[in-house]
């Protein structure tokens, strides 16, 4: 039924966007492969939506180019770019029925009537909104509205789908439902999808690759696994992961007996850590370690004062201190840990990350 060749390669070349004196995107380069699901992840104001709007042609580039396949589309109208877009606020046309919403774009580019009917029927079937076709957007629930918005993108048979935080306005349950559906849709269509979100769960579950952005610059581009396990910068490390990674500033000690990390409260061997650059003796570093890599261990050498325990059902989040250093750790729900207890912990070397405290780059 659907045409699996609808997919395109998208790239930004030295792309800059400024609003007056504010540079929102700074010489950004990004290659998105055919059929890839790429997520632009970042806090609000990082430029991710601006980048998406620039891909769409809704935002003019100040400098640089946007390419879709072998066409330089930098100065093309949105409708000529072979894109479809889904918005956070659904952006349905309130005075048109669902059918009118779905067919509006097709009417605008003068698609023959029977072809329109065929495409609308197809989109309605895929998204299971066939029984809603004659209603107005005002009569639909949030989830239904967003389905219609996705349907409007679907009928365009676009090569590239752009999503601007499409699930942010939905409640948690609907969000996870539609997330799965988007994933399925991507697999069925094989189209290139670019998805903007500030929600790391959406990013990690949907993406083939994630581009983490901050202040108009891509901090790291990688698979969800790479982003989570080997964050390229301290910003990426603290942005991704729930609860957040622990950060401890300390020093490297190189002795004949081995290499250690030390901060006055904590000291442990890091002989097995493979760093990108050799760590010098006396170098100040920022240790980053995720809560799951700090483990309760009766043989551990570090004393941990438990403060508060959060029970999340499938796991426990334990907040506490080593000396004056705050740490969070993740524990099995069965583990018998109580607040105000004193326990021993150890650190999993495989989960260590070291960052340069000045540049924030991974060492």
């Amino acid at each position: 039924m659907q045409n699996n060749t609808n997919t395109a390669h998208v790239s930004a070349k030295d792309l800059s966007v400024s609003f007056g004196k504010v540079d929102v995107l700074k010489k950004l380069n990004l290659e998105i492969n055919k059929g890839e699901f790429l997520v632009l992840l970042g806090a609000s104001g990082c430029g991710k939506s601006t980048l998406l709007n620039t891909f769409a042609g809704l935002q003019e580039a100040t400098d640089g180019d946007v390419w879709i396949d072998d066409r330089n589309v930098t100065f093309m109208e949105p409708k000529d770019r072979g894109i479809a877009m889904v918005f956070q606020s659904y952006a349905l046309y309130p005075k048109m029925t669902v059918r009118g919403n779905l067919s509006f774009g097709l009417k605008m580019n003068k698609t023959p009537k029977d072809k329109i009917n065929e495409l609308v029927a197809y989109a309605a079937r895929v998204l299971q909104i066939e029984n809603l076709l004659d209603r107005k957007p005002g009569e639909l629930s949030g989830g239904q509205r967003q389905r219609v918005a996705i349907g409007r993108a679907l009928v365009r048979k676009a090569d590239v789908f752009l999503f601007d935080e499409p699930l942010s306005n939905l409640d948690a349950k609907l969000r996870s439902e539609l997330r799965v559906e988007l994933k399925r849709l991507h697999e069925e269509l094989g189209a290139t999808m670019i998805y903007v979100t500030h929600d790391q769960v959406e990013a990690l579950t949907l993406a083939d690759r994630i581009a983490v952005m901050k202040a108009g610059v891509i901090q790291q581009l990688g698979t969800p696994d790479q982003i989570y396990k080997e964050p390229a910068t301290r910003y990426v490390a603290q942005f991704v992961g729930m609860p957040s990674m622990n950060f401890v500033t300390g020093k490297i000690i190189n002795t004949s007996g081995g290499t250690y990390f030390e901060n006055g409260d904590i000291k442990f061997s890091i002989d097995e850590y493979i760093s990108k650059q050799p760590l010098r003796d006396g170098q100040t570093v920022e240790l980053g370690i995720r809560p799951e890599h700090v483990v309760l261990d009766t043989d551990g050498s570090t004393t941990f004062n438990v403060d508060i325990i959060e029970k999340l059902g499938s796991e426990l989040i334990v907040w506490g201190k080593v000396g004056s250093t705050s740490l969070t750790l993740r524990a099995e729900p069965e583990s018998s840990v109580a607040s105000k207890e004193v326990r021993k912990i150890s650190f999993k070397i495989s989960g260590l990350n070291f960052f340069d405290p000045e540049t924030g780059l991974r060492l």
Partner: protein, 299 residues
């Protein structure tokens, strides 16, 4: 938990209103105000229904002895303005001729201006908007002479297109303002979605935005109908002899020098002239308030 019993079935009866002294004072004030504004209307109406001898008795407030509609007929069809004796009916049709096209052109151009200023922001849009708004504060008497010269140059002076253009120009600042403010309350993502769907400048406007503009269109229609209908000066100056609007015609009837003053005819003519804006307010006042408030409340 015992509370739920009583709170889950709230009584639909209105809470008992307490008639306090403040409330009485407020009502009294409001009643006096409305009487103050209704009094002239009352006098116009009853005087128009009296005969001249009865009017001469001088009891201006008194109820007419007999209901007499002769003055109305005369005012509409045979009252004299100078040499012509055709009543205000000529003026009525002239006003309609001026009103309908002016209404369309001024609202449409204001709406498009507002649309451009909200969605197609160009360099200097703020300045442009500032200049348009400034236009709203210039007393138009100051512009009349230069405009006459310009219109005369283009052969528009004293023509129907001329007076329509004048109303469009003077209506533009306020129309632009209300449409711009209305459109800036609509989510911009709808505009973006329409662009992605391939709608062009007018496609977005006519297919997407205009259908969403009903509340503000009503406000615009009310403002322009009353404004254009009640206009006297512009119609007198720019309309030309052929297109004298009803207000000018009314003035000519009232001020005609021949014979005794027929107050009942004058009153009837006045009432007939005021009828259009009155009816517009009467039937759409509710929408007017709603439309004005539309900008203040999130849609």
């Amino acid at each position: 938990m015992t509370m739920t019993q009583s709170t889950s079935t709230p009584s639909l009866k209105k809470p008992r209103t307490i008639i306090s002294k403040e409330r009485i004072a407020i009502y009294l004030f409001l009643i006096i105000c409305s009487l103050f504004f209704l009094l002239p209307l009352y006098i116009v109406l009853i005087t128009s229904l009296k005969t001249m001898p009865e009017i001469r008795m001088g009891n201006i407030m008194s109820w007419p002895e007999t209901w007499n509609t002769d003055a109305w007929v005369k005012a509409w069809s045979t009252a004299c303005t100078g040499l012509q004796c055709e009543g205000v009916s000529v003026g009525f049709w002239n006003s309609i001729k001026i009103l309908i096209p002016s209404l369309f052109v001024s609202i449409l151009s204001g709406a498009i201006c507002g649309y451009v200023l909200s969605y197609w922001r160009f360099k200097g849009a703020e300045l442009f908007f500032g200049i348009i708004l400034f236009g709203a504060f210039i007393p138009y008497q100051a512009l009349i002479y230069p405009m006459i010269k310009i219109f005369a140059t283009f052969g528009l002076y004293g023509t129907l297109p001329g007076i329509i253009l004048v109303h469009t120009i003077f209506g533009l600042p306020i129309m632009t303002l209300i449409f711009r403010n209305y459109y800036s309350t609509l989510p911009s993502e709808i505009f973006k979605a329409a662009r992605v769907d391939g709608a062009g400048f007018f496609g977005v406007f006519f297919h997407v935005l205009l259908p969403m503009s009903t509340p503000i269109l009503i406000v615009a229609v009310i403002l322009q109908v009353t404004g254009i209908w009640n206009d006297f000066l512009l119609g007198l100056i720019f309309g030309g002899r052929e297109n004298m609007p009803m207000t000018v015609q009314l003035n000519n009837i009232v001020n005609t020098a021949r014979g005794a003053k027929e107050y009942n005819v004058n009153m009837a003519a006045t009432f007939l002239t005021a009828m259009v804006p009155l009816l517009v307010y009467f039937f759409s006042g509710r929408w007017f308030v709603r439309g004005i408030a539309a900008g203040a409340v999130k849609g």
